[in-house]
Amino acid sequence: MTFSHTQLNYFPGCSLATTAKENNASLIYFLEQFDIGLKEIPDWNCCGSSSTHSIDPGLALALASRNLFLAPDDKPLLIACPGCHLRLGEAKLTLTTNAKKRTRVEQHFGKPFHADLKLMHFFELLAEMSCAGLFKDLTGRLKNLKIASYYGCMLARPPRMNRLPNHHGLIEKTMTALGGDPVQWGFSGICCGTFLSVSRPAIASRLVNRIMKGAIQSGAECIVTACAMCHLNLEIRCAPENRIPVFHFSEILSLARDGKASREWLNRHLIDPVPVLNTRWKM
């Protein structure tokens, strides 16, 4: 398979732009190493977020639509946050299937909706990179680091979207290809508690601690997450006795590429990841 992406349009979303800057920076860095440039869509806004979607679906659709109309349709729109990907994907589906809403939105933005705009999740890009053989020089790089792959709710979708591609197992597959050692464990798809972490912290803590304890019991040395919000919840709601380092997928990929990870990224973690990295690499 030939690989042709050298430039993609990019939607970072609020988490990657703020609390998870290390996720954003490591993702951009990693793709740069493969000559894939990202062009942030100009003046993007919140994707529609779970809070908006929860109580005001009309607003969620309006917010997502502006982003869809801002994105040039010449190249795929890369999205790293699973939440943003779901919200923008749902909006695209609504605009494609509901003529009345589409007409209203088109009238608002004064131009036609490009139904063929491709929304590409970071996982999809990785799968293509892997198929194209871009990782073949990176075998063994993760030195058997034992990894618990954590997807949270990212693989779950509403019924009307359940025929879209699913990337179950992609973290494990990629980590294995790079020389990591993914463990078997029972919590890879258990929700992190999302916004209940703020409004009902006891509930989120219970879930987070089950997940973290599960990872420790499985023999993993660290957790690798696909979602910036999961990453934050796992770090902030974890009891001291259940602490295990949590990496963004993009950080581990960069580590595999270079044998090091930027101190700037690691310093932003609330659970210090340096000791586990020092067992194999000089940080």
Binding site: S49, P57, R104, L155, S199, L270
Partner: protein, 185 residues
């Protein structure tokens, strides 16, 4: 198990509205409980997700709209992965929350609603979410000044919380989206 369910209104009007708004066919549900078994929040809910469906079918509008279940549902779609009949539970819960707000029902989890509103306020100000301000405003409205104080300081010291918001430049466009939203719901 509770005692007998007394159905106040079984002419199907409420169920019909929920079905239409959620674009989900509730008669498909055979009450296998797979959704409730898979839901990470089932133990915190006053009514299990499959029971929410049943009570909607039975027209028990007030009880459903006043439940904590609709607010503790985070829309993670885990239940949809379990459901053999493609019932869109998250969409049903979305509709029920919206109805509860519109009909001024007493909200079982006011803190959850208040948090969502703080997020929306932040989006209306900046077009994006400003986490620090959302947290501060939420804590103020809950009159909860001390829990998570250590955590907040730690997040600030790790620069996880930005003091200044990341913003959309064109604020008028953001305000226009709030107007557009009214025609889309």
């Amino acid at each position: 198990m509770d005692a007998m369910i007394l159905a106040p209104e079984s002419n199907g009007k409420f169920a019909g509205m929920v079905e239409e708004m959620s674009r989900s066919n509730l008669s498909r549900c055979w009450h296998c409980l797979c959704c409730s078994g898979g839901c990470p929040f089932a133990q915190d809910m006053d009514i299990l997700p499959n029971r929410v469906i049943r009570m909607v079918q039975l027209g028990m509008k007030q009880q459903v709209l006043a439940s904590s279940a609709i607010w503790l549902c985070v829309g993670c779609n885990t239940c949809s992965m379990e459901c053999p009949n493609a019932v869109d539970m998250a969409a049903v819960m979305d509709v029920l929350r919206r109805m509860a707000v519109q009909e001024n029902v007493k909200i079982a989890e006011p803190g959850v609603l208040s948090f969502h509103q703080k997020v929306i306020d932040s989006i209306s100000r900046y077009g994006r979410t400003h986490k620090l301000e959302i947290m501060m405003r939420y804590k103020l409205s809950e009159k909860d000044f001390f829990s998570d104080m250590d955590l907040g300081l730690k997040m600030l010291s790790k620069r996880k919380l930005d003091l200044m918001p990341s913003k959309v430049k064109d604020r008028q466009q953001v305000q226009d989206l709030f107007k557009l939203a009214k025609d889309l719901s």
